[in-house]
Amino acid sequence: MASVAEGLNPVLRLSGLRHRLSDRARNEHYTVYVDQCLEFYSRDFIGLLGPSGCGKTTLLTVLGLLRSPTNLDDLSEFELFVPEEVSRDDSWQRIDMREAWQKRKYRLIEKMRRRHIGFALQSGELISSLTVQENIGMPLKLNGAGETEVASRTKELMSQFKLTRLRDSESEGNSTQEQDSDVGNALADSRINRLSGGEYQRVALARSIAHRPSVVFVDEPTSALNRELAHGALSVMRDLQRNRERAGITFMITHDEDLAQEFCNVVVRMAPRRNEPAGEVVEVTRCEIDTEVGSNE
């Protein structure tokens, strides 16, 4: 546990981490290195940039506890700080992920993923047999939330991500009134295969933060959105992550330099190594969080 007096609560800290991808059949491998110490604090919005194929997604799967670092023995640090469940105050609990992986505490790892991590991956991967609101509510349900809690939270998220569609029969006069209500929102009960690309990605984003995770990973979320929509969705996302008690951090993989400059207070750059099939974190730049934007919401 570590409480940071200045308000900079570390959420994720790692150094000397390595993940080696290997394809035994083709005798190929690719290694991702994080040699320096990376530390991210509550409310950070991190952009992960780098050329295609340099290992961004790979790093993300490791940080997102989907895969184990492959150098558990000489790994120096891999820790997550998550809000303590029982206490209502500002205390954080440190979870040593290196130990968790080493001791194969899969139940803990699964629980961490379920409680404290959110994903919006490259293709979103929504569950096709479920409706929009069921998809968004899924992380909550997995955490054992009650029906009413799930319903109110999904409704809230849908309106925040502007995921609304009028029913055909509704007159326009009533629309404003009913936009907030579930009854009026045809999209809520719509199935995934009926969504547009933009809607799909917004649902994926909404789902990734539905359970108020400490760390959210977003892999190229805006590829299907036009710039305007992308901005809107991202800012909703960022604000929801930042402006809450014990705010979390957001990891965003993007190729869009402008987007990164605009939204991220931390930019992590990766680059492939020249002589070996490997990629590494080469640069980390951090600037002050634009509090004005943050406090607006």
């Binding site: 989907l66 139940r107 993923r113 991956l121 991967e125 569950i127 096709s128 047999s129 479920l130």
Partner: protein, 703 residues
């Protein structure tokens, strides 16, 4: 719990919301199970057709068995034991048959019978109420007490009787030269239609009790139920445990040691008597007899030693085979205490040879006392008695012996010289030497009793004393107990009466053997259903009965049932295996398609167990739907195949096939469908749950 609910909800949402993908799987599984169900139904239908004939006729569940091969005779106890051991027995009817002669009872209005009826020989068979053979013709009750009979159609025709009318039945029996004839009136309570086989036979069925009584009747026994006494030729035989041997004193005339060992080797224990009332035959021998005679008592010992060839009761044999000269053997039974007309008496059994017979010399000792008398050995007329003059019973007209068992046996008071001489001595009224109803079995020897020296009073006193001093006293007889002389045969019978071997037949005034309970050798057994027959046959054969039944046909049907069952099972197993493989591949495929979903669920932190449950439960729902579909279709098809639509022109081609789907089979199939689906899903479920979450997503994108 809520988590399991969540998984089940997700699984069923997957099945029903993505119905277009699942319906094919449901149809495939149902399609695999349906042929098995129909096959089972066809098999059941076929077997039911085979059984129908046997199941409807009573002979199907009939087992005839008889004690030919060392099976125990069918006494009541044995039959009860069979009933309990075999199980599922409806009724067991011992088989017995008797030929009787029937003629219709002549009513008062004799005109009805145009021509005089001839006697019709009728073979009566045994039956019992509830006999399936009779029940199939509506005869449920038949009474033995009421003398009811069910006749064959032929018998009814020949006799000109009908149900409800009566029948005279003539019975005959023969014993030695004796012939007897009796008539019984039977009531006709049913008619059996003749079948092709045995047509024209005049047969009938009567209650087993009636047949038992007929058996007793023919054996010459009394039939109490019909008021018929035993035949006069019937008499039980007398048996003796002991003999008395009298020899003259002297070297050559007493029993030699050889004699004794000879007798012992024949199962007789020899005891030389030195004292006791037997020495002078309860005072009937003169005093000199004690000096001149030696008395031995022979007691039968065990015959269980196989080396012994026993001499049974032949006094002649003993006398002839001993070296002792002029010896005399008497059958002997120790005196019996009875009440005669309520007065306790000791009965002494004395059957002595006459003067002319072997051992007749004994009479010379009696001549001296004036008590010469003898009863001839007779089983025909054992109930004679002689009293000393002092007896209170002397001269009574009718005497009844009450035995320990409560029988009352009337005795002939054989007034004889014995009594007469005693009375002469005391100067009382002389009694005729022979009474009219005493035949020559009691021979009063004229010995000039009046000239005898012994006083009657002293003799009588001596008898009383002797009796009193003997075992009888120990048996509770008073010292004053009077004695009476009877043929030793009577004592033998009284003993046998005590042990229940014989009984007194008042009709013929004889002791006759107690008719042993009628044991049957053959019986008809009906099981509850034809399926119980083989088991019953097996049991009976094991108990060494010869058995006749339809069990081979039943067994054949059961065998067919079984072999068809096996066939169906083999086919079913094959189909099932391929079913599992098909379901497996279908589910593997559909699970592979769901890799993405599984991946994202795992990414969101769902446990492996969660993923496993979802996949398995989804397969279970599919199996359930398939089972329902299969059963609905199965029953519909069975109904259709069974339907006789020959009249309908459009469906005239359709044959009628009996398909019987038994609910248990249907359940089995449903279970199979579920099992098949679940088994087929286990591996994909395991595989899905074992996937690397991220790989699953990436692979799922291209699935």
């Amino acid at each position: 719990m809520s988590r399991v609910g969540l998984y089940m909800g997700m699984a069923s949402k997957d099945v029903f919301r993505l119905w277009s993908a699942t319906q094919l799987q449901v149809i495939i599984i149902a399609g695999i199970c349906l042929p098995i169900l129909l096959l089972l139904g066809l098999k059941n239908g076929h077997v039911a057709d085979l059984r129908e004939e046997l199941a409807t006729s009573p002979t199907g569940r009939q087992v005839i068995f008889w004690a030919a091969r060392d099976g125990a005779l069918l006494s009541d106890g044995v039959i009860e034991n069979i009933r309990e051991s075999v199980g599922n027995v409806d009724v067991i009817i011992p088989e017995s048959q008797k030929l009787v002669f029937g003629s219709p009872v002549n009513d008062d209005s004799g005109e009805e019978l145009a021509q005089p009826q001839e006697e019709v020989p009728i073979t009566l068979y045994s039956t019992l109420p509830g006999d399936p053979l009779l029940m199939q013709f509506g005869v449920n009750e038949i009474s033995g007490e009421q003398l009811e009979v069910v006749l064959s159609e032929a018998a009814v025709k020949k006799l000109g009787v009908e149900v409800g009318s009566h029948l005279d039945v003539r019975l005959t029996r023969k014993l030695g030269a004796d012939r007897e004839e009796h008539f019984l009136e039977f009531k006709v309570v049913g008619v059996l239609p003749s079948r092709e086989q045995g047509e024209g036979q005049t047969t009938g069925y009567a209650h087993i009790e009636t047949l038992e009584n007929l058996d007793r009747y023919t054996a010459g026994d009394a039939v109490a139920a019909w008021g018929i006494p035993a035949m006069s030729g019937r008499a039980a035989s007398d048996v003796y445990e002991s003999m008395l041997v009298f020899c003259f004193r002297g070297g050559g005339t007493e029993l030699s040691t050889d004699d004794i060992s000879f007798l012992e080797s024949r199962g007789l224990e020899v005891q030389r008597l030195d004292e006791g009332p037997e020495l002078d035959l309860f005072g009937t021998l003169s005093k000199g007899a004690l000096d001149e005679l030696v008395t031995y008592r022979l007691n039968r010992v065990s015959w269980e030693d196989p080396g012994i060839t026993p001499i049974r009761d032949s006094t002649q044999l003993i006398v002839r085979n001993t070296q002792a000269e002029d010896d005399l053997a008497l059958r002997w039974v120790d005196p019996v205490k009875v009440k005669i007309n309520g007065v306790p008496h000791a009965l002494v059994g004395l059957s002595l040879p006459t003067k002319r017979e072997t051992g007749g010399w004994l009479n010379t000792y009696m001549e001296k006392t004036g008590r010469r008398f003898t009863f001839q050995q007779s089983v025909d007329n054992p109930c004679q008695i002689l009293f000393p003059a002092s007896s209170p019973m002397n001269g009574e007209a009718e005497l009844l012996v009450e035995t320990a068992g409560g029988d009352k046996i009337p005795l002939l008071n054989s007034t004889s010289a014995f009594v007469a001489s005693l009375q002469d001595e005391t100067g009382e009224t002389a009694v005729p030497s022979t009474s009219p109803d005493v035949d020559d079995s009691v021979i009063a020897e004229d010995g000039g009793g009046g000239s005898q020296e012994s006083a009657a009073s002293t003799s009588a006193d001596k008898l009383s004393q002797v009796v009193a001093g003997d075992d009888l006293a120990a048996a509770g007889a008073s010292s004053e107990m009077p004695i009476a002389i009877v043929p030793v045969t009577l004592l033998s019978f009284l003993e046998q009466l005590d042990s229940g071997v014989v009984k007194y037949d008042s009709g013929s005034r004889r002791f006759i053997d107690v008719p042993s309970a009628v044991d049957f050798t053959k019986a008809r057994l009906y099981t509850d259903t034809i399926d119980d027959v083989p088991e019953a046959v097996e049991w009976l054969a094991e108990a060494k009965y010869a058995v006749l039944s339809e069990s081979s046909r039943i067994a054949e049907i059961q065998e067919q049932d079984q072999s068809l069952q096996i066939l169906v099972l083999v086919v079913a197993l094959g189909v099932f295996v391929f079913g599992v493989i098909t379901v497996f591949s279908v589910l593997v495929d559909s699970t592979d398609r769901k890799k993405g979903t599984i991946g994202i669920l795992r990414v969101m932190g769902m446990s492996r167990f969660g993923v496993f449950s979802i996949v398995l439960f989804r397969a279970f729902v599919i199996g359930l739907l398939a089972a329902v579909l299969c059963i609905v279709f199965g029953f519909a098809l069975a109904e259709f195949l069974r339907l006789d639509v020959a009249d309908t022109a459009a469906l005239g081609w359709k044959p009628t096939i009996s398909v019987m789907i038994n609910p248990i089979d249907a359940l089995l199939i449903a279970f199979g469908a579920l099992l098949c689906a679940s088994l087929g899903a286990v591996v994909p479920a395991l595989r899905a749950s074992g996937l690397d979450p991220f790989d699953a997503i990436t692979e799922g994108q291209f699935g």
